[in-house]
């Protein structure tokens, strides 16, 4: 990992570039183990959330990303290995006993938090897609983790899918109140509830 100073400068730079303002709605930043789950609209999403977190929290948060994307090119490799300390999932080699959920659980141990995008891919229309079931299995294994819904506004205008050049609009990252997987809650209900928790942040 790079020095704290480099990381702080990078976070400041990312904040300036994305113009992100962070809002905590009925929620407080905390260093306890959490899963931040957000809508996914652009490649910059992990960077934006990472930089919007307060320093102490940021040091513990690890974004989850696709290995093929985040290891392509020296800049992405540098960012994912040395800056975000990202957990990279090899999409080509998903095996039963080495599932992404296993990797995530093992990697975070009892200190780190996760930044995940349960829609899987980036949505194109601005409407959120259905959540994949990974979030549910993650919670089933670690029901003690707090789930913090995160909504990123405007990123789909800054760098829409298929565009290379960004337009420097201002983003707003909203963190909502934590939710947990209820005992015996069916998968479908839980995923709907989680998705709704992110969606309602848009209107607040």
């Amino acid at each position: 990992m790079e020095t704290r100073l480099t990381l702080n400068i990078l976070a400041l730079l990312a904040r300036f570039l994305s113009g992100a303002s962070a809002r905590w709605i009925d929620s407080q930043p905390d260093t306890c183990q959490r899963i931040y789950f957000a809508n996914h609209t652009s490649h910059m999403d992990s960077i934006v959330i990472w930089s919007a977190l307060p320093r102490e929290v940021r040091m513990l948060a690890r974004p989850v990303g696709a290995k093929d994307y985040w290891t392509a090119g020296p800049i992405r490799r540098y960012l994912s290995y040395h800056v975000f300390n990202a957990i990279l999932i090899d999409r080509a080699e998903i095996k039963v006993h080495r599932s992404p959920v296993d990797i995530m659980i093992r990697e975070i141990g009892h200190t780190h938090s996760l930044i995940v995008f349960p829609e899987g891919g980036r949505n194109t229309t601005g409407e959120m897609g259905e959540f994949k079931s990974g979030l549910y299995y993650l919670c089933k294994r670690r029901p003690d983790l707090e789930l913090i819904p995160v909504h990123i506004d405007n990123m789909n205008r800054i760098l829409p899918r298929g565009e290379v050049l960004p337009v420097p609009l201002l983003t707003c990252v909203s963190f909502g109140p934590p939710i947990w997987l209820e005992q015996g809650e069916p998968k479908f209900d839980f995923l709907q509830r989680a998705r709704e928790a992110v969606r309602r942040l848009k209107e607040m």
Partner: protein
């Protein structure tokens, strides 16, 4: 640069800011003033932001014309960010916006920096304004075409074109040569805009039923506008010695201040109307207590071109 006039102007501003800070200090200590605490808090944050503004301006002036240009360019860029963020655009506008941000905006300030009046006064309102609809049309999305074009054009005009006339003051050929008089001219302009904002706000605190446009801004009263304009005119006349107008007629500085106050009012009411339409209170969150950058510079944007052209006309530059 360190002429008695410059020192006098800087000293005056420091005294004014010092006094404001002292007032804030006293007011926040005492709780028997009967004033609204929210009002005092707003005032405190404003005073703090004025210190920031003055420090940045002073630093830019000390470092010269290039740095001042770049600073104003960055302010324009940020204001345009806030403007376009609030304005709904469609995916079809993406590439147009890219050129607007990364070509037209910097180009305008490069041309202003080169002092090329013939070019910088037409590049955006003629070629820029033709480019925007053409590039949107190329993207193939014709939904609400004119509306989208107009939004981007309005943003460019207010945030970039108009504001660039403030640093353009530095490139005018004044009767007295040198950096000092030019820097003082720009400083006088910014100072008058800020004072006119503050004084119009202060005069509007008088309980009144004469709200100018209740549907857009319930805080703007006729008392505020007239009282503010009159006091700014008076203050501006008293500062005539600091401006290049001192060689010409003594009343010029006063008239310029009146124009600044009226245009400042026009600017803030226009930007308020846009905010009203979008259902927001402020444009952004960069400077605490001051809303966004655009909330701070709305009056400057409208006053700058008029101030620039009148100065150019009268001082025969």
């Amino acid at each position: 640069m360190w002429e008695p006039r410059t020192i006098g102007l800087i000293g005056g501003v420091l005294v004014l800011l010092g006094a404001a800070t002292a007032v804030v200090h006293v007011l926040s200590r005492r709780d028997d003033t009967g004033l609204d605490t929210a009002l005092i808090e707003t005032f405190r944050l404003r005073v703090r932001a004025w210190w920031v503004l003055c420090t940045v301006l002073a630093a830019a002036f000390l470092l010269g014309q290039m740095v001042t240009m770049i600073m104003f360019g960055l302010i324009s860029f940020w204001a345009l960010r806030e403007f376009i963020t609030l304005t709904p655009t469609r995916p079809g506008d993406h590439r147009t916006l890219f050129w607007v941000f990364f070509l037209l905006t910097p180009l305008q300030f490069v041309l202003v920096g080169m002092g090329n009046y013939g070019l910088f006064s037409i590049v955006i309102p003629v070629y820029g304004f033709l480019f925007v609809p053409a590039r949107i049309a190329m993207a193939g999305d014709y939904k609400r075409f004119l509306e989208r074009t107009a939004k981007i054009q309005a943003g460019l005009l207010i945030c970039v074109y108009c504001l660039s006339h403030a640093p353009a003051l530095l490139t005018l050929n004044l009767p007295t040569d040198g950096w000092g008089p030019r820097a003082r001219l720009l400083f006088f302009f910014i100072l008058m805009v800020q004072l006119s904002d503050a004084l119009q706000y202060a005069w509007a605190q008088i309980p009144s039923k004469h709200v100018i446009v209740p549907s857009i801004n319930p805080n703007k009263t006729w008392e505020g506008l007239l009282g503010g304009t009159a006091s700014v005119t008076l203050l501006g006349s008293m500062l005539w010695w600091a401006t290049p107008f001192h060689g010409a007629n003594w009343w010029m500085a006063g008239v310029m201040s009146t124009v600044i106050a009226l245009m400042g009012f026009a600017g803030s009411i226009t930007l308020s109307a846009i905010k009203r339409d979008r259902g927001v209170k402020d444009y952004g969150t960069l400077v605490e207590g001051h809303g966004g950058v655009l909330d701070r510079i709305d009056s400057t944007c409208f006053a700058a071109p008029v101030f620039f052209h009148l100065t150019r006309l009268w001082l025969g530059a």
